[in-house]
């Protein structure tokens, strides 16, 4: 019986479970880069109005998308519909705005505006060409019914996203 036990014990030792783990690490860099090239400035042509129109003393913000791989991303840019910081406002602010392609690095990007989809304040572009695309945003805020904006500093934010598809 002992003789049986020893070989059994030996078998147990021989079949002892051994395991190891190793990691596989991978980093994915985004193939879509968003760069704010020109910060916007609101002009105040009328007491009740803030606008980025250059003719009214404003500066239109410009955002650049660098897309390294075509047909893998869509750009969604939202012009502002509220102030991120402002003096206390007790009346309605009416917002309007637009986004357009202002510059391209490839001629085939020039029909991005034609093919874009708009909803709410969002402008959605299919990035079908690799390269750089510059988007220019316009924004206008009218306060009340021709009511003067309270004095102070007003800040609004343009949101730009690059969404993988």
């Amino acid at each position: 019986m002992l003789k049986v036990v020893v070989p059994m014990a030996s078998a147990i030792l021989a079949t002892e479970f051994v395991q190891a783990q190793t990691e596989i690490v991978g980093n994915v860099d985004s193939k879509c880069i968003i760069i704010s090239e020109t910060p916007g400035v609101y002009g105040n042509p009328n007491p009740y109005q803030l606008t980025t129109a250059p003719t009214s003393g404003g500066v239109q913000p410009i955002i650049r998308y660098d897309v390294l791989a075509a047909d893998f991303y869509k750009a969604v840019i939202e012009h502002p519909i509220d102030f991120s910081s402002s003096p206390n406002l007790d009346d309605v602010v009416t917002w309007s705005g637009d986004v357009e392609v202002s510059e391209v690095s490839d001629t085939n990007m020039s029909d991005y505006d034609t093919n874009k989809v708009e909803y709410d304040n969002a402008h959605e572009y299919q990035m079908t060409v690799a390269g750089s695309t510059w988007f220019k945003i316009s924004s206008t805020a009218d306060y009340g019914y021709n009511k003067s904006f309270p004095a102070g500093q007003y800040t609004a934010v343009v949101e730009a996203e690059c969404i993988p598809i």
């Binding site: 510059e103 690095s105 001629t107 085939n108 020039s110 505006d113 510059w134």
Partner: protein, 289 residues
């Protein structure tokens, strides 16, 4: 220790900082005055300058339905093809502003020929901008700056004063003296010529005015006539009558004997001459001794 510090001081004194620097820069807008440009007017004139990049931008103005191709290009300086050429095909697309950048493997500025933006099709290009980026080594020519590595001191040629003998005061004085002497001599000669001319003129007047009785001495005139008549023999102005002068002397007997007296006389003279020469020779020999 003192010797070591001296050596270190000498080393520090002799060692000069040497470095070269690569300078990077960008040109002005090459297309600011038109869609054609010459690179020599665009790139700065630095030795060894190399173009390493280009950025262009323009706005294509066109109907989306039309075809349009825009070429941005630079010819080779030797005119053999293009060193850079890129096309933007806007056919069937709306116009827009396009911006592109390119990197080059440091192409020598000497390779770059005329640049241009050409439009094929319907449409136009506005607000064009073409900017080149470049670099150059400040020590491309080591002799351009003493701080460059490899700079070799040029031999300083000492300034040797050039002696111009004509500028020497003594020489100038002597030349001035000779000049004065020459002028005096010339003046004397001129004076002599004037006097001679006056004399000749006076003589001519005298001789020409033969009918002035007070100027003619009858005795002198007679003497002059006598002299004139004697100066030239008659046969100078008398005609010889032609013909043959026949021999009138006739020798009889045929032989003419030698004149022995004359021979002796010749021999005696020869002897005397030889004696005279010998005596002169002997006397000269004695003087040299």
């Amino acid at each position: 220790m003192k010797r070591l510090s001296q050596l270190l001081a000498v080393f520090l004194f002799c060692s000069q900082p040497s470095y070269s620097e690569e300078v990077y820069g960008t040109t002005n807008n090459a297309a600011q005055f038109g869609l054609n440009w010459v690179m020599t007017n665009i790139l700065p004139e630095y030795a060894g300058l190399e173009v390493n990049g280009l950025v262009y931008q323009y706005t294509a103005v066109k109907d989306p339905e039309t075809d349009m191709i825009v070429w941005v290009q630079n010819e080779y300086a030797d005119g053999n093809g293009y060193i850079f050429r890129n096309s933007d095909d806007w056919s069937g697309l709306p116009g827009n502003t396009i911006s592109k950048s390119f990197a080059f493997p440091n192409l020598s500025a000497e390779l770059w020929g005329p640049g241009s933006i050409e439009v094929d099709g319907d449409g136009s290009v506005e607000d064009a901008s073409v900017i080149y980026s470049y670099k150059y080594d400040t020590c491309f020519d080591p002799q351009s700056d003493p701080s460059c590595p490899g700079y070799e001191n040029t031999l300083e040629v000492p300034e040797i004063p050039i002696y111009d003998p004509l500028q020497d005061q003594l020489v100038q004085d002597e030349l001035e003296k000779k000049k004065l002497q020459q002028e005096e001599e010339d003046e004397k000669q001129r004076q002599r010529r004037r006097e001679q001319w006056a004399i000749n003129n006076a003589l001519e007047e005298l001789l020409g005015e033969g009918d002035i009785p007070e100027l003619i001495d009858p005795a002198a005139e007679a003497m002059a006539l006598a002299l004139t008549s004697r100066v030239l023999p008659n046969n100078y102005y008398n005609l010889l009558f032609g013909g043959e002068y026949l021999e009138t002397v006739i020798l009889e007997g045929g032989d003419i004997q030698d004149n022995a007296k004359a021979r002796r006389s010749n021999l005696a003279q020869q002897l005397l001459h030889q004696q005279m020469v010998d005596s002169q020779y002997e006397s000269s020999q004695q003087e040299t001794k």
